[in-house]
């Protein structure tokens, strides 16, 4: 009886050790990506690869596989929202349609922000006018102000926000803060008025002496 208990305990202990060790090997071991990458002739450390500057063992990206985003046969095809396949890394100047398509890749994970973006709650917004142009001028206290030069200032049409990759670096999307412009004015500066000080003093003293004289004279009466 005692022996059987020990036996069960021993078996359980061995099993648990096995389970733990297998889990450990999963964490420290090889990702399935590498199998593909071996085929694709892509080398490199997968957990901390240099291109994305991301550690795939911590943070929000923990547990992600390369294949979650990149689709075979090349890394230049990525999966976007609703299982669309988007080609990235093309050499030409990106057309608006192409950029819209590429936004879907970002939208796959950052869906809320994508929705904000489509409704102009996230991202830059601007407008254009007919036969007009936007001139960026350095203006008051060094601000870069978008001056709208239009033929007629009557009908403006809003423009959709710029695509994700036009503002964010896809490999390091967090924006660093820009420089801070000079301090603000909130007190109207009073011009110097020394002459008024002297004038007021002179006038008040003259007038007061006249009044005092009048009072003394009046009393003597």
């Amino acid at each position: 009886m005692k022996l059987s208990v020990y036996l069960v305990a021993y078996i359980l202990a061995v099993l648990s050790l096995f389970v733990i060790s297998s889990k450990a090997s999963e964490e420290t071991g090889i990702y399935p990506c590498q199998q593909c990458h071996a085929v694709l002739n892509v080398t490199g450390l997968v957990r901390e690869e240099t291109v994305h500057d991301k550690n795939l063992t911590i943070g929000a990206h923990r547990g992600l596989y390369c294949a979650n985003c990149h689709k075979a046969p090349t890394v230049w095809i990525m999966e976007g929202l609703n299982d669309t396949l988007v080609e990235i890394g093309i050499k030409d100047i990106h057309s608006r349609e192409k950029l819209d398509e590429m936004n879907l890749v970002c939208a796959k994970c950052h869906y809320d922000i994508y929705e904000d973006y489509t409704r102009l709650a996230h991202g830059n917004s601007t407008f254009v006018c007919e036969e007009g142009r936007i001139i960026n001028v350095a203006g008051y206290k060094g601000v870069i102000y978008s001056f709208h030069e239009c033929k007629e200032y009557s009908k403006f049409t809003p423009v959709p926000a710029r695509a994700c990759v036009e503002c964010h670096n896809p490999h390091n999307p967090t924006m660093e803060p820009l420089s801070i412009l000079p301090k603000q004015n909130y007190v109207a500066p009073t011009p110097k008025q020394d002459n008024v000080v002297y004038g007021t003093l002179a006038v008040t003293i003259t007038a007061m002496s006249l009044i005092v004289l009048a009072i003394i004279r009046g009393e003597r009466r």
Binding site: Y186, V187, V196
Partner: protein, 411 residues
């Protein structure tokens, strides 16, 4: 009273008011110099962009800012509204309580009201950015919710009532007729509420603003009225003492001085009591951050400008001293005692009513900034000039009306 009599009365007032001894002319000359200098600074410097369409000048020459948009002009505006309101005290004692000795000097209250309201209106006009526009637009497009319009209405109404009262009184006295009941009863019934009204509405301008927590208390209007009924009679008392000294055959009954002193002391005590009550609420218990910050600036001198706490302490100390002095009959009934008490009351109320009311409400401003406000030299010059003009009007009208009274009562 037809047009001819009206013109005749005005001519009489001007001729008798402007005629006097050499010292009287010296006195007027001194005031005129200050007035001309002040008005010059107002028209040709401060309001030059409006009156002269010039590039220079403008309200920028004042030390007012977007944080402290109201300064010394509005501060003295409030003080003189109080002085004007108290002019009716003599009328009430004379005609409501039917006091013969006060009837002799009641017209002086009207004179004081006229002079004070003229100072008040000039101070507002000097403070306004576009005075000409204001005079055209205010009667045309009133906003019934704006207390400034109501203030304009009651101020001009009170001025009108007092001018009518003064002219009618002088007209009747010149013909050696007593003032009839047909005139006195409607006059007091209309003028007394207006007198309280001008000061109450002036307090209402600032009282209901949630943006300015230190004003946002229903005690503001009562406190205004209470201290007004101290400073106004005190000024009247001083004027009576001066007139008795410098005018031949003018005698004021002892009863007038005694009763006026009672009014002053009573109002001072009420005013000091209201100050205590406000200090308790603002300083002791409130947790509202703005109210607390503004109260600490006013009562404790935390932050700049530091003169506010000095002025407030001055009000409490001088006010208490004047009340204590007035409680002792020996001082209360002597000539110099009266002069000292009345002067102390006026100085104390100037401390309480002017800058200590206006400035703390703006520091800190709604964005939490402490923008310090000191009146600039031009502001001083214009304020002095306007006061000089008011004093000239006071002197001329008082002289004319007192001469009429003397003649009337001698017969």
């Amino acid at each position: 009273m037809d047009i001819k009599a009206l013109i005749d009365t005005i001519k009489y007032i001007l001729s008798s008011g402007l005629r006097g001894s050499k010292s009287y002319y010296l006195f007027l000359a001194g005031l005129t110099i200050m007035m001309i200098y002040g008005l010059y600074n107002w028209v040709f410097v401060q309001h030059a962009p409006i009156f002269l369409k010039s590039e220079y000048g403008g309200l920028v020459v004042t030390n007012l800012t977007d944080s402290v948009p109201w300064g010394i002009y509005i501060a003295f505006f409030i003080f003189w509204v109080g002085v004007a309101a108290a002019g009716i005290v003599f009328g009430i004692i004379a005609y409501v309580f039917n006091n013969e000795s006060f009837k002799k000097v009641a017209v002086l209250g009207e004179v004081q009201a006229i002079a004070a309201i003229i100072i008040v209106l000039l101070l507002i006009i000097a403070d306004m950015g576009q005075p000409l526009r204001a005079l055209i637009l205010m009667p045309q497009l009133p906003n019934l919710r704006s207390m400034l319009d109501w203030d304009f209405v009651v101020l001009t109404g009170y001025l009108l009532i007092n001018i009518i009262g003064l002219l009618y009184t002088i007209h009747m006295y010149r013909q050696d007729k007593p003032l009839g009941k047909k005139f006195i009863i409607p006059f007091i019934i209309i003028a007394a509420p207006f007198a309280i009204g001008i000061h109450t509405v002036t307090a209402f301008i600032s009282q209901a603003l949630t943006a300015r927590p230190i004003w946002h208390s229903p005690l503001l209007a009562p406190r205004y009225v209470a201290t007004a009924f101290a400073s106004g009679p005190a000024l009247l008392l001083l004027v009576l003492l001066i007139a008795e000294k410098y005018m031949d055959r003018f005698k004021v009954d002892e009863d007038v001085y005694k009763k006026t002193m009672y009014v002053i002391v009573g109002s001072m005590i009420i005013g000091l009591y209201f100050s205590l009550s406000e200090a308790q609420e603002l300083f002791w218990y409130t947790n509202e951050p703005w109210k607390k910050a503004q109260a600490e600036l006013l009562y404790m001198g935390k932050g700049q400008p530091g003169y506010l706490v000095i002025l407030f302490a001055g009000w409490i100390i001088l006010g208490t001293i004047s009340v204590l002095l007035a409680l002792i009959p020996r001082y209360r009934n002597s000539y110099w005692g009266r002069v000292v008490i009345a002067s102390l009351v006026i100085v104390a109320v100037v401390f309480e009513k002017t800058m200590t009311i206006i400035v703390p409400a703006f520091i800190p401003d709604p964005l939490g900034r402490y923008v310090v406000y000191y009146p600039s030299p031009i502001e001083y010059a214009i304020t002095i000039g306007i006061h000089a003009l008011g004093l000239i009007i006071y002197a001329v009208l008082a002289k004319a009306s007192l001469l009429t009274i003397i003649k009337h009562y001698e017969k």
